[in-house]
Symmetry: C2
Subunit: 474 residues, 2 copies
């Protein structure tokens, strides 16, 4: 989803470790102008798109190479000072905050596409390459990279949070699409976690241990990704429904039939109203599905017909189809504008976002009960979702000057997460745990599994310097 | 591939730890007749389909529940004695051998399909369920589980080795198809590693840490898997080629075009000759591709036409098509009989198998050079491959009484692995490291990555009791 900003609030127990002057001197000596202690630079690296606030890091190192990262980590390890990898800063969960002090390593200068292996459908990039930049650079090959979180995030950050987006229903998430990594470990050593082979049984799956580890085990300095041939044909559709239930049941049936739909996004009637006001789209103010089909011309036609038939059975109306890129862009405008339209709908508001994901058969139960609760609360909200995966986001639109509203929103989120967990789902489909979901993680996986994560963390980062204070308390 | 048996040879340094009589008494007391120390039972659990030999385990516990597994592990932990999980015994890499002594836990009585969630395309099973049993039990739902190593292996063993097979080119491997696990840890505690949600960013990916860990981190006691709707249409084809190069280039182009082929298997001319002799198939004695297409009737037709066109450009001849289940079975006979036909072609021989996997663009280079070396060696061999994934298996057919032949075969394998690694591939696409590929693993990933694996192992299994001596030396 699009990155919401939200009501700032302080971390309950911030205990920044001291950053000794000797470390700052050593960093300056090694990195010169590429190490900054200017307040503005530090403050820019001390926040993200979450609602948390913490004092900024003591310094920012602008890494230009893997060697720079390794040297910065080695110095930090020597003084036992935290290290926080930083990309575009689009985390929604406080991943980038220096809650225990330390230094930030900015990776945005490591932004080269290192190799494009079009014949193997793989690409190797530095961590500061963003998803849009990658697609721009491989456009001429007829290939594309499908994972698309709302923000134009870096591929390093997307790997670290196991990100996904609208295409995940067909192409998977970062979990399925990272083939191999180069990582600087907590001691500043360099390891590689895999090869360019499509599959392997060669020992522990270190690649997937680092994907989703939120910077707590090492700094990702190179990423080998799967890419895909641009589909021969793409067709998009929007369809309105008499209720969210009708839209959701259309999705459930589509997935259960095995239709290889590429994207299927839900927008609720609130959000349609907001985007109509924002962009004068004149859409029916009813729940809506936005869909996209990829394949051969006849395959796409076949998929679309199947889904249209299912939708009609559930009262789907006002189908609009688009096959040219321009028409498709127009149809997707509602989705792309959802966040901005929502923010504008309540001047001065901030949004906080939920991220539950449930098995598809539980989607209606989870969603409808939470919609009823949100409606009853009186808090304005928008609702969008990657519903083909069972993942959806409420964005509660809060008056930042009213702590009561935040309380109500947090209570809604707690109920939603509890419901998702009781329906065999997860508290976070794609945003990560960060600072906000530590308690949810324990409820979800049990204390034993979180203890195992802690044991791994302690073993691989005995000084607890890699982005400490995220995912779990140590 | 089908499980080859092979020339037995002893492990160089076997140092079985002592199994105290007190532990055996405690196991007998807890498990009664479900704990056996009979030599025949121990010997049956002291070998697999690899070429290694080691003394059998001191006892075999037949577990009937997760609690049984937990109790057995707790007793073993108390006496610091190794534990080896055992399924059907189809490992090709010595995973099941008690190289450091200890007890075997037989999981074949934990063979229930616990729940079928057809609406979510998931199923939860006990580890002793085999892949064929699972497909039998879900047949009536119109769903299937695609991962198919040659043996009718257990889903516990397949998870532990990150297995794959002929359908992986379209459906992925165990890495992509295990959603969640229940695991008994090295201390006998129970953890769950995930939910039934299709995607999640909730902390470290423990599921994928255990998938492929070869029993060295814990015992898998429950597995939640993805399953798939049976395709509306399936069509199979065989096609002969003037050379292996022509067949391989057909595959490379098919994959690069993004054709969603479900299976594409190579059989070399040696193997065609062997299956002709074995099953009187009357196939052209030329390299052959066996292919399968899944989808809608028109989608399948379209895929097949595209591939036929590519094949024709590379001199592909003698296309045969099959759409009914009976015809398909006939076409796939050659593939299914390959191993047995090969063994019969040299009476008294044993086979040793290779398992390299390379990026698809390197497949021709890797394969053709290794075929030339194998031809020059004079060792008879068969060659089959999941070539759509860049994975293939030579089976060298050895006279077990001639150590010289084993030496030559091992030299061929070393050269092949070195070549695969230099082409950015892996030493093992699907069989695992076990005892046989420890040195290859270090060459492939580097000492640093293997050290990280060791660190994880030491942290999660400080007494080194979980299947010790596999993947790496500690």
């Amino acid at each position: 989803m699009n990155a919401p900003t939200s009501t700032p609030h302080l971390m309950p127990e911030i205990q920044p470790r001291e950053v000794p002057a000797a470390l700052l001197e050593a960093l300056k000596a090694r990195f010169g102008a590429n190490c900054s202690t200017a307040l503005a630079v530090r403050e820019q690296h001390g926040r993200d798109e979450s609602s948390f606030q913490a004092p900024p890091p003591a310094a920012v190192v602008f890494a230009e190479s893997t060697q720079d990262v390794a040297d910065a980590v080695k110095l930090a390890a020597q003084w036992e000072v935290p290290v926080i990898p930083f990309g575009v800063g689009s985390s929604l969960e406080g991943h980038l905050l220096a809650v225990q002090g330390g230094i930030s390593i900015d990776l945005m200068r490591m932004n080269k596409v290192l190799s494009i292996n079009a014949d193997d459908l793989t690409v190797t990039v530095q961590p500061g390459v963003t998803r849009k930049q990658l697609n721009e650079e491989i456009k001429s090959t007829g290939l594309f990279f499908p994972i698309d979180p709302g923000a134009d995030a870096t591929l390093g950050g997307m790997s670290a949070t196991r990100a996904s987006g609208t295409n995940a229903v067909r192409y998977g998430t970062m979990r399925e699409n990272v083939l191999a990594l180069e990582v600087v470990t907590a001691s500043g050593e360099l390891i590689r976690t895999g090869t360019r082979a499509k599959k392997s049984s060669a020992g522990y799956d270190l690649t997937r241990l680092f994907v989703g580890s939120e910077g707590t085990l090492g700094v990702i300095t190179e990423i080998t990704l799967r890419i895909y041939p641009l589909p021969e044909a793409i067709s998009a559709a929007i369809c309105s429904f008499p209720s969210i239930a009708a839209a959701v049941h259309t999705v459930i049936q589509t997935i259960q039939l095995g239709v290889p739909i590429a994207r299927v996004e839900l927008i609720d009637q609130n959000t349609v109203r907001m985007v109509n006001a924002y962009a004068k789209l004149g859409l029916r103010e009813e729940p809506m599905l936005l869909m996209e089909f990829h394949g051969s011309p006849s395959g796409v036609k076949e998929q679309a017909e199947t889904v249209q038939e299912i939708a009609s059975e559930h009262g789907g109306k006002a189908f609009e189809w688009a096959t040219t890129p321009e028409e498709r862009t127009r149809l997707w405008t509602a989705r792309h504008n959802a966040y901005f339209a929502a923010i504008q709908s309540r001047p001065g508001c901030r949004a906080i976002s939920t991220d539950t994901c449930v098995p598809i058969s539980r989607l209606a139960d989870c969603l409808l009960a939470s919609v009823a609760e949100a409606d009853a609360s009186g808090i304005p909200y928008f609702l969008v979702g990657h519903v083909g995966d069972g993942n959806f986001h409420f964005g509660y639109l809060l008056n930042p000057d009213d702590p009561k509203e935040r309380e109500v929103a947090e209570a809604l989120n707690h109920k939603l997460v509890a419901r998702a967990l009781s329906l065999e789902g997860t508290c976070t489909g794609e945003h990560g745990v960060g600072l906000h979901k530590m308690d949810f993680l324990v409820s979800e996986t049990g204390a034993g599994a979180v203890d195992m994560m802690r044991t791994i963390k302690r073993a691989l980062d005995p000084k607890n310097i890699m982005n400490p204070g995220k995912i779990f308390e140590l």
